[in-house]
Symmetry: C2
Subunit: 348 residues, 2 copies
DNA sequence: GGTTAGCACTCGGTAAAATCGAGTGCTAAC
DNA sequence: GTTAGCACTCGATTTTACCGAGTGCTAACC
């Protein structure tokens, strides 16, 4: 899946300056108006110092080369995915509006709490900032090691296995025994589990005692439960902000439904985001990502890193005619803030 | 907020049998077709043994009494909220289709894992079962007491406070110290925290040590963090299933947007559900719940109980013209299954 | 008195027709 | 190479006509 444009199938150099200017103007106009844009609208643009007739002939060329399309004869032009691609690749970085910068600063200055909470709130923030639906993905902890395990008994047969990992995640698992265990048994099992599991990661198999006393059975049961769930635990967390925006920015109930349906499936969302993810802000337009149902969407993704490693991503989902400059700036800014937030001394 | 109809403002007895039959037929027809229904369609109904002319005059009466409305002269009739209310109140309980019953049984026979996971999956199930958007609310644990507290150090200054409650919930909180603490300090703090907090609930204030040694400071800090978060922790969990259905069952992008926007706000959803909640399956139609933006919706809610006490609820959200019989049956069945699931020996 | 066939009337929805105009491509002049 | 001019296209919008589902009313009927 292409992350950045490969312009190799465009004639060598790409586009001469005037064509580029015109293409850019068309894209800008179309993003603004959502309408096919005609040659005269472009000719009126200050950056384009030629008449509409000239613009028209250039448009014919741009259409031939696949950057523009005509919904029908005698209509204006609409950018193709390729057109958007060119536009995005030649977009000089935008900057966030001051109001938004303030909001962002405000948010990260005051946000408190666990990673999960921060990510969730970030999703909402990002959506408010951009007016598009946002996606925030927190990395799974596939290679996290266990810091502490504790077995707590709810009653004689129900126990709760609480596991703390070195990446700060905490999991709980019910351990249901078909025998009764005393507080002391559970405490001892807890002790043994710690001895057994601390420092290991979930993909490691551990030697469990084969004795048949209550404590040993508790230990075995606990380890079994924990490892059985291992695959699930590695899953990334997904937070979606502003899903109602979908109904705002897409037209056509059916499109809205499809997009929402995709968003419901967290696994899909994760793979979509990871697919698009690259260094810096990446964009996938239309069919560039492999998701058919989202072929009328653009996805913008920025990584969140911790000590150089990607630990998550923030993304935005909108129609292909989205406000790339602003949105990319927002994604970048939020990603940077998050990176700093987690890299800094704020714990987590 | 009315949960059940108060028919007091209708003439004493309510409706005579024929009017009731006609009203029922109108509602059924309108639910099926989403169109205003005319007198002849009703007269064709086997249950109505009178001519369309008679039906018409009855309809005039029903309209005068507020059960039906006419979108415009010379159109058919549409049920009002009051009409739906009457319909629902006089609905004999529906039964679930066998396929659905099987699916339900299947699901609860195999579902595993923590309460949270079960509830989330239940939301999806309920949505699949009914083709409407579902809401599952798990009760907050306002009066839960602490079973165990554990302070785990991530590094010298970052610690994680993991708390287990007697209702099986587990919380974690970052404790960030501005001083360094050794493993031993943390272990000792953990021990003291246990001594201090076990058996208490979060609304209780506890006496914390005023000493200034590392351990005491850790303990103080931990208790502070835990109690600071207390209000948040009491919040109910909300799981929403099939939000894409919103785009299917409502018409008008704006309505879809509004409904989605409501669903995004978990607090709103909780209060909505709790507002509607009653004994058994409750229904709020149109403006019966106080939520203006949802005045074109019906909400169906069934409680989930544990040992007689309500510990949550399952709900469904659809247009006022939803398939009440089927959906109420589904809500009831799922609620019953959940109640049994948690009441039974399956742990949680 | 309640019920029903008959009928004139209403009025939104749909289809057909007319119109508009934004936008095009082409050509000829610059 | 650029541009003004112009005939032409074709979707969108408006207009008009029309249809018919449905109504309310009345007079006949049981």
């Amino acid at each position: 899946m292409a992350r950045r444009a490969k312009l190799t199938d465009a004639p060598a150099i790409g586009l001469d300056e005037r064509k580029a200017t015109i293409l850019e103007a068309v894209v800008n106009e179309h993003i603004d108006t959502a309408q096919p844009v005609g040659s005269s609208a472009i000719a009126a643009n200050a950056d384009v110092a030629v008449s509409s007739a000239t613009v028209r002939s250039e448009m014919v060329a741009l259409e031939r080369e696949g950057y523009l399309a005509q919904p029908h004869t005698s209509a204006g032009r609409v950018p193709t995915d390729k057109g958007y691609r060119y536009f995005v690749d030649h977009l000089e970085a935008g900057v966030l509006g001051v109001a938004q910068q303030r909001q962002l600063g405000e948010f990260f200055a005051h946000v408190r709490g666990e990673v999960e909470d921060v990510l969730e709130q970030t999703a909402t923030l990002l959506s408010q900032l951009t007016n598009y639906t946002s996606v925030v993905v927190g990395a799974g902890h596939s290679n996290a090691t266990i810091l502490s395990v504790q077995l707590v008994n709810l009653d004689a047969r129900h126990h709760l296995l609480v596991t703390v990992f070195n990446d700060g995640t905490v999991t709980k698992h019910s351990v249901l025994a078909n025998f009764e265990a005393s507080h002391l048994d559970v405490a001892e099992a807890s002790r043994q589990l710690n001895a057994l599991l601390i420092g290991t990661s979930l993909d490691l198999t551990v030697q469990v005692p084969s004795r048949t006393d209550v404590v040993a059975r508790l230990v075995r049961e606990s380890v079994a439960v924990l490892h059985a769930e291992a695959p699930t635990l590695e899953g990334e967390q997904v937070y979606i902000g502003g899903s109602s925006r979908v109904a705002q920015v897409f037209d056509g109930v059916e499109t809205v439904r499809q997009v929402l349906a995709i968003l419901e499936q967290e696994l899909l969302v994760v793979s979509l985001v990871e697919d698009v993810l690259g260094q810096g802000v990446s964009v996938a337009i239309g069919s560039e990502h492999g998701f058919e149902p989202l072929s009328s969407c653009a996805v913008i993704v920025a990584p969140v890193t911790l000590e150089g490693e990607s630990v998550g991503a923030v993304g935005l989902l909108g129609p292909t005619r989205m406000k790339y400059r602003e949105v990319m700036a927002a994604a970048e800014a939020v990603s940077a803030h998050l990176t700093q937030h987690f890299g800094g001394d704020h714990g987590g």
